[in-house]
């Protein structure tokens, strides 16, 4: 194994771990801020470390500290299976984390004649891996619900299990339709297919090729991650917190974080299968390489504009009412962040200038385009996470029987019909 292979592999693993784990505090914060936005209030924005609020992200770290130092409480009626009771949240957390590992963050990197996958787990059966591993997660919920010896937990676990069974089939069938279209179970091949052009003017994204499969897939992903409007599993107005009722401190936090990782994984799979993954619309990796100097110029032009509006927005919003005497260090925070952002932009501009004038080797182009694709991936991931959050705070919870009817009577026949139509079209075109 060469040094290069080790660097690329380690880089992918670290990136996947960061994107999955560091996303949790950001998503918890985003959830609360977006909820505030929708309900016309502010959400958490006071917690700070030395005056630095970062818009309230620090609140999530404070929450983690609180949960770590909370008392580990075990209900006294749990006689047997205490170990399994503690282990149950971990099953859900680990399965959600592992399911994220086959998502490609950039196109295959070709350096010195060798090709590397930018995936934490470089395998060519990404979709199957995702479906296999993500179905383990519900076992954690079922064990937790049963071992709590509590009627509410039991009901929550039962709902989780039957909801998963009802939506696993449409999920699998819509994935089969996409596999027929892309002729592969490899995420990277799917993204490659989507980098083309459809009908001459549309990007060949999965959502435009297969709108029905995309709709079914997104709905089933909401149900699989137990997010509203499919959160009957923990429906707090009916069964307290479902399977989480008897869990406290970090055991509860594991369930909580597992849900956010599952949401993050669902967003990643949706964008990889239906929204072009790490690619810019209309442009494939070949196009980016052949027009490398224009890509660099585009980065040089777009970057200062985005940063300018970001700083303007920050200066406008990171302030208090004029009647207050002290602003709690907000002006200082704005100043420091402005300097950091401007110097970061200047550094990137300098690097781009160097690339534009000096570069002719393929290594720097490969690194730049890989980083650009990672940035596009993270941007799309955030957009879809915010979509998940907005849907949660907009729609009311479905009733349990409505969910079952939707899964078995509508989504399943639709996805079956979709497979037949897809197969006919694919055979007809070939």
């Amino acid at each position: 194994m060469s040094t290069l292979a080790i660097v690329v592999t380690l880089g992918s693993i670290v990136l996947a771990a960061l994107l999955a784990l560091l996303m949790i505090p950001v998503l918890v914060w985003l959830e609360r801020r977006v909820a505030g936005l929708i309900q016309d209030r502010l959400g958490p924005n006071r917690t700070n470390v030395g005056g630095f609020r970062l818009g309230g992200v620090v609140q999530s770290f404070a929450d983690v500290v609180k949960l770590v130092f909370k008392e580990e409480y075990y209900p006294s009626h749990i006689k047997s299976g205490k170990l399994l009771f503690t282990l149950a949240p971990t099953i859900m957390f680990v399965s959600a984390l592992l399911a994220f590992m086959t998502i490609p963050f950039a196109d295959n990197v070709n350096i010195a004649g060798e090709s590397f996958r930018v995936q934490a787990l470089p395998v060519d059966y990404g979709v199957l891996w995702f479906m296999a591993i993500s179905s383990i997660g519900v076992i954690g919920i079922l064990f937790g619900g049963w071992l709590s010896h509590n009627k509410y937990s039991l009901l929550g676990a039962q709902r989780a299990g039957s909801q998963l069974l009802g939506f696993e089939l449409p999920l699998g069938l819509s994935v089969i339709a996409m596999v027929i279209t892309y002729e592969s179970v490899d995420f990277n091949v799917m993204v490659d297919y989507q980098s083309g052009v459809l009908f001459g003017f549309l990007p060949a994204w999965g959502v435009l090729i297969q709108p029905l499969a995309a709709l079914i897939f997104i709905i089933t992903m909401f149900a699989e991650t137990n997010r509203a409007p499919f959160n009957v599993v923990e429906g707090e107005s009916e069964i307290i917190a479902g399977h989480m009722t008897e869990f406290s401190a970090m055991k509860f936090a594991m369930y909580f974080m597992g849900e956010y990782i599952a949401m993050n994984t669902a967003s990643a799979v949706i964008i990889t299968m239906f929204f072009g993954g790490y690619q810019l619309p209309w442009l494939s990796t070949q196009d980016l390489f052949s027009n490398f100097s224009s890509v660099v110029v585009a980065i040089m032009v777009v970057m200062p504009i985005v940063i300018f509006f970001l700083i303007k927005w920050m200066k406008k919003n990171n302030s208090v009412r004029a009647t207050l005497s002290s602003d709690g260090g907000r002006a200082f925070e704005t100043k420091v962040l402005t300097i950091v952002l401007i110097s970061m932009t200047a550094l990137i501009e300098l690097i781009c200038l160097y690339l534009f004038t000096q570069s002719s080797d393929s290594l720097s182009a490969t690194i730049t385009i890989t980083l650009l694709q990672i940035a596009i991936f993270v941007f799309k991931l955030m957009v879809f996470n915010i979509f998940f959050i907005i849907v949660r705070w907009t729609l009311p919870r479905f009733r349990y029987d409505q969910i079952q009817t939707l899964g078995w009577n509508y989504l399943l026949p639709l996805s079956l019909a979709n497979i037949i139509i897809t197969a006919i079209v694919v055979v007809g075109v070939n």
């Binding site: 299976g81 179905s135 299990g161 078995w408 009577n409 399943l412």
Partner: protein
């Protein structure tokens, strides 16, 4: 060396899980033993580079069978005092040992007779692509018959569930 040690760890989990599955009194512990055994089994397929069977094992055995049995355990919710009080006595153990001894002897004989030096397979063995080509070229008829059977069962399930919901609304 590394492969051997991984194999022995997996084998330990597989045997332990299988014994636990039949010996635990509470059905939920049997279920987690079964889960352990199935994951260990898929790990063995992964060790053999048989990626198709590895994934199918997790998808079917863990994702469907274990979840289904757990769902039934949760739905029925048997309390431990309601379970039948049958203990593993020495008499039963001896009787069952005598009953299965011919099969054990047969297995022992078969393993002894087998030539344990297998020839190495090529790099592509067990990959999804080869598996698919094999299924659709050599076993196409059986594959299609099974898929039509499953499809009919699926559609029948939907039709039955739709009819019962009509009955309720009447």
């Amino acid at each position: 060396m590394l492969e051997n040690s991984i194999f022995f760890i997996l084998a330990l989990f597989l045997v332990g899980g299988s014994i636990g599955m039949i010996s635990f009194r509470q059905s939920v512990f049997s279920a987690i033993s079964f889960l352990l055994a199935m994951i260990a089994m898929s790990g063995m397929f992964a060790l053999l580079h048989f990626s198709f069977l590895f994934l199918a094992q997790i998808l079917v055995s863990v994702g469907a069978v274990v979840v289904m049995s757990l769902l039934i355990i949760v739905s029925v919710n048997i309390k431990s005092e309601n379970l039948p009080n049958d203990k593993l006595t020495l008499k039963r153990f001896t009787l069952s040992a005598i009953l299965i001894s011919p099969i054990v002897a047969l297995l022992f004989y078969a393993i002894n007779k087998t030539d344990l030096m297998f020839k190495e397979v090529n790099e592509e063995f067990g990959s999804l692509k080869l598996m698919g080509v094999d299924l659709f070229s050599n076993w196409a008829l059986a594959f299609e018959i099974i898929s039509i059977l499953l499809l009919v069962a699926l559609v029948g399930g939907i039709v039955i569930s739709k009819r019962s919901s009509n009955y309720e609304s009447r």
